[in-house]
């Protein structure tokens, strides 16, 4: 009986492994969010010469747990003039796209468990990079719909700003990544990491790294590019009207996007899981690089003030896009020669 069942499922082992991996990754990403919130608050506290959360548990470690419980039990308020369906849909889109994007991010070499070769990624797509851009581009709909459905002028402004900002900076992001694609000759993220086994790409493409990182900060709506949710001028932008868990879902999306962007920078420019002589496991090397980049994100937030909106657009279209085009041109010419 049992043997029959095993025989029946034998050809579908990869489906089962895939589902398990998907669950583990999605769960880990959702679990990372409170930890990141804690890290950000602690680090911000240090940067601003204060203590940060330190009351709940040792080093304030219980703070994110109590915060999440508070958010879960808060009353959910929807104003009567809002479009109910879109109002509920918007945060779901943000979290969904953020989690799905991570599906193609590889974070280590394949390992053998019980005789099965298991790659440390959910899906090995041969257009991995394009998939990331496609799905993360869909994430902006969450913000635009939140702005549209709230029936609030500040939310609408926030939604419009986020869509304009995303469109402008996605160009730079794509062009900077394209120079790496030209170098590697593949769109697969795993190929990109294996091609960097002797030296990371940042050494030969420092300009592309800078462009990608700046555009990445703008794409994740982090300070100093957090114009869509500028507190002083737009109250809180597109999530002004949201309360409780739906409000928290926007933050979940933002933090998961931050992790994805750091992982992407690590894969494209910092050599992925290659440790370059340091005796650590590949997955530790990868996580270490991602953690460092996350700290840089937080560091930037506490260092720079928010830039003005027209400057943001000018900077994107008149500085970043021409430089990235030029960089791509030079790279392609050098590769062909």
């Amino acid at each position: 009986m049992i043997d029959d069942v095993i025989d029946f499922f034998e050809p579908y082992t990869y489906l089962i492994i895939g589902s398990v991996k998907a669950f583990v990754i999605a769960g880990a990403l959702l679990g990372i969010v409170p930890a990141l919130v804690w890290l950000e608050r602690r680090l911000m506290g240090r940067f601003q010469v204060r203590l940060g959360p330190n009351r709940v548990g040792p080093f304030g470690l219980g703070q994110p747990i109590s915060d999440s419980i508070k958010l879960l039990f808060k009353e959910s308020i929807i104003q009567s003039s809002a479009d109910k369906f879109l109002f509920h849909l918007a945060p779901a889109i943000v979290v969904f796209t953020a989690i799905v994007t991570f599906a193609v991010i590889p974070f280590g070499e394949p390992v053998k468990i019980f005789g099965q070769e298991i790659g440390l990624w959910v899906a090995n797509v041969n257009i991995g990079l394009l998939f990331v851009f496609a799905i993360s581009g869909m994430g902006v709909y969450g913000m635009v719909l939140a702005g549209l459905s709230s029936n609030n002028k500040y939310s609408l402004m926030g939604g419009l700003r986020s869509s304009a900002q995303m469109i402008s900076y996605e160009l730079t992001l794509g062009l900077a990544a394209l120079s790496i694609v030209v170098l590697t000759g593949s769109l697969s993220l795993i190929d990109m990491v294996t091609s960097q086994d002797s030296y990371p790409n940042i050494l030969i493409q420092p300009l592309a790294f800078l462009l990608f990182f700046i555009a990445g900060i703008a794409e994740t709506n982090r300070a100093p590019f957090d114009l869509p949710e500028a507190e002083q001028e737009l109250v809180a932008g597109f999530h002004t009207e949201y309360t409780g868990m739906k409000f928290a879902m926007f933050f979940m999306g933002e933090y998961i996007n931050m992790v994805t962007m750091s992982a992407l920078v690590t894969l494209l420019f910092l050599g992925g899981w290659n440790a370059y002589g340091v005796p650590v496991w590949p997955i530790v090397a990868f996580s270490g690089k991602v953690l460092f980049l996350l700290c840089v994100f937080i560091w930037l937030r506490s260092t720079y003030p928010r830039i003005r909106y027209d400057r943001l657009m000018t900077f994107g279209w008149k500085v970043l896009v021409p430089i990235s085009l030029l960089n791509l041109l030079v790279t392609s010419v050098l590769v062909v020669l």
């Binding site: 050809p11 041969n126 257009i127 869909m138 709909y141 419009l160 469109i167």
Partner: protein
């Protein structure tokens, strides 16, 4: 005892479901009265098309479909709707409406005719799943085809798009004086 191929069965079911959703979404685009929901149905339709491409192993076309149409074009649609304020339109019977209904009915009739006259055939071309896999992925196959045999058409199309972009800037140009100078 018939062989139950779980994979093929799942694929056929998913393809049918996605295709049905695509048709329903495109109906939603023309039948819905609120512009925001129309745009959303169109996005849904485009995502369904991308899924269909994906089901037929054309990953590159699927990704491009999502990035260009669902990502870039539709966000501009939503942008315009948000700027103009999406008001629900009140539908009233008119001559144009009856003409439109007649047109749609004709199209549906033709579709029905073409479906009954002959079974549909796949388009024959240089590439099938095997050759694409040999070249090394759909992105590479499209690149090779586009930049070798169709390079002139491709470049001409890019020039055409450039002309369109320059033209739209010329047409919509307005004399812009910065606020500070206007105040004097």
């Amino acid at each position: 005892m018939f062989e139950l191929d779980l994979f093929e069965l799942t694929k056929a079911t998913v393809t049918t479901l996605v295709g049905l959703t695509a048709v329903l979404a495109s109906l939603g685009v023309i039948l819905c009265s609120s512009p925001i929901y129309c745009a959303l149905y169109l996005i849904g339709h485009m995502i369904c098309l991308a899924l269909l491409f994906l089901l037929y192993n054309a990953e590159f076309v699927a990704a491009v479909q999502i990035i260009v149409y669902a990502g870039a074009v539709m966000i501009l649609f939503l942008f315009i709707i948000a700027l103009l304020g999406g008001k629900k339109e009140i539908q009233e019977p008119s001559t144009e409406r009856s003409i439109a209904i007649a047109f749609v009915a004709t199209m549906l009739g033709e579709l029905f005719l073409s479906a009954t006259v002959g079974p549909t055939r796949p388009i024959e071309g240089a590439f099938d799943a095997q050759t694409v896999a040999e070249v090394g992925g759909s992105a590479k196959a499209i690149g090779l085809e586009l930049f070798s045999r169709h390079v002139v058409a491709f470049e001409l199309a890019s020039v055409l798009l450039l002309v369109a972009a320059v033209g739209i800037i010329c047409l919509s140009k307005f004399s812009y004086v910065p606020l500070r100078r206007r105040m004097k």
